[in-house]
């Protein structure tokens, strides 16, 4: 049986070893090839994951994609996050960043218009035909992104208000942190229906019904190169790639309305 003092000295040795290992390995990990860091709203998850490899091959760079809520990403960029280019789900956040001189305004470009759709869990019955169907007894909960800060949530609220359903549906609403969360509520059956972005709605377990874009103000999504970026031309190139012929095909496939098609 080891005495506590031997134990103590052993533990201290272990701590010292751990400290050495950590500091020794700390320097590593820096990639040799140039890396482009893209901050993008979560609704772009699938589209950009498909586009990034093509851009990497074309320009011989690495692209690191960081997805998150537009608000969070904007706040991080404001405080010096190492993003090169920022794809916002809502141009309002770009306005705020522009006011703080955190982005290069001349690179700013509209890249898509988001669309919201009505989704219903397949497990809970047949497809819902229209927004009004949400009032039916079959639907006990309706998931949307939090309108307080999520652009798609705001659009969902607007559409419901315009359709005159907001007050009636309010008791049924549950808020997700973002559209992916809202969709997860439907996918897992926690909510029978929801209103989410078309770009993420392509999942097997839900029925999708389009919503008339006239019911809400357009979800104009813009992107810009970040002022602190050490490689602004590469960021601009990626933005233009997404907005160019190759990008447009993919974006369109994921349900975005594209600039010039409006």
């Amino acid at each position: 049986m080891p005495s506590p003092r031997t134990t103590l000295s052993r533990a201290l040795t272990a701590l010292a070893t751990a400290a050495l290992l950590v500091t020794a390995s700390a320097g590593g990990g820096a990639a040799a090839e140039p890396t482009l860091i893209v901050f993008a709203a979560s609704d772009l998850t699938f589209a950009l994951k498909e586009l990034a490899p093509a851009f990497e091959q074309a320009r011989n760079v690495r692209v690191t994609l960081v997805f998150g809520s537009t608000g969070n990403l904007a706040r991080q960029i404001e405080h010096g996050a190492p993003a090169d280019v920022f794809f916002s789900a809502d141009q309002g956040f770009l306005d705020a960043l522009a006011a703080k001189q955190a982005i290069l305004t001349q690179t700013r470009a509209l890249y898509a218009q988001g669309r919201i759709v009505l989704v219903a869990a397949k497990a809970s019955g047949p497809k819902l035909e229209e927004l009004r169907s949400l009032l039916g007894d079959r639907v006990r909960r309706v998931a949307i992104a939090n309108p307080a800060h999520a652009p798609y949530g705001r659009a969902a609220e607007e559409a419901l208000r315009t359709a005159g359903l907001w007050e009636a549906l309010r008791p049924k609403l549950v808020y997700g942190e973002n559209i992916r969360h809202a969709l997860q509520y439907v996918e897992t059956g926690a909510a029978e229906a929801g209103i989410v972005a078309l770009s993420v709605a392509d999942v097997a377990s839900v029925h999708v019904t389009p919503i008339d874009p006239a019911l809400h103000a357009p979800l104009n999504q813009a992107a810009a190169v970040v002022r602190r970026s050490p490689r602004p031309e590469l960021g601009l190139a990626f933005l233009q790639f997404v907005n160019g012929p190759a990008g447009r095909v993919v974006m369109k496939r994921y349900g975005f309305l594209l600039p010039g098609e409006l």
Partner: protein, 220 residues
Amino acid sequence: MTSLDLFPLWLSVRVSVAATLLTLAVGVPLAWLLARRTFTGRDVLASVVVAPLVLPPTVLGYYLLVLIGSQGPVGRLLERAGIELAFTWKAAVLAGCVGSAPLLIKAAQAGFEGVDARLEQAARTLGRSEWSVFWSITLPLAWRSLMAGGILAFCRAFGDFGITLMIAGSIPGRTQTLPLAIYDHVQANQMAEANALSLISLGAVVLVLVGLARLVRLRY
């Protein structure tokens, strides 16, 4: 399922070990002060050290970001000194420290308070300095509580999500720790990858803790 990127695992192990060591280095002396000394502001300090438990992690992370980001007072100083902290792996370490410090400090404080002060006084009358008393009496007798606090701190640092997300970002290959990577996979609807990484997380922590227990088995 595409091939699994294990970088987040190594990053998380490294970050949480570093965070635990740093938390020990700062937290143990603080805990000792709180347990053994009376000074003005002691009660305030005692409340401040547990404050991180009260705030939601992302909110706490946001405040830290405001502090250490490129616009923040600390961030600007660091930048002038040529040190990059926000959005680097070091920020993830800081996040781990902030999240785990309350757990370690409270456990260690209870441990120190549990050591009979008369034993320390006896050691003093036997010619030992404060430093020597601490190493030969206080520390060995409070050892179990320190271990418990260290383990809690390690697990908390390993699992931190909110603070790391805010101040280190979730940049794959750089600052995306295991919990952030799992969350990303869930967000991208890649449940197989998410499940695999969750299992790996649990496995890694169990492995580290079992190894530690083997190394420092303590009885008396």
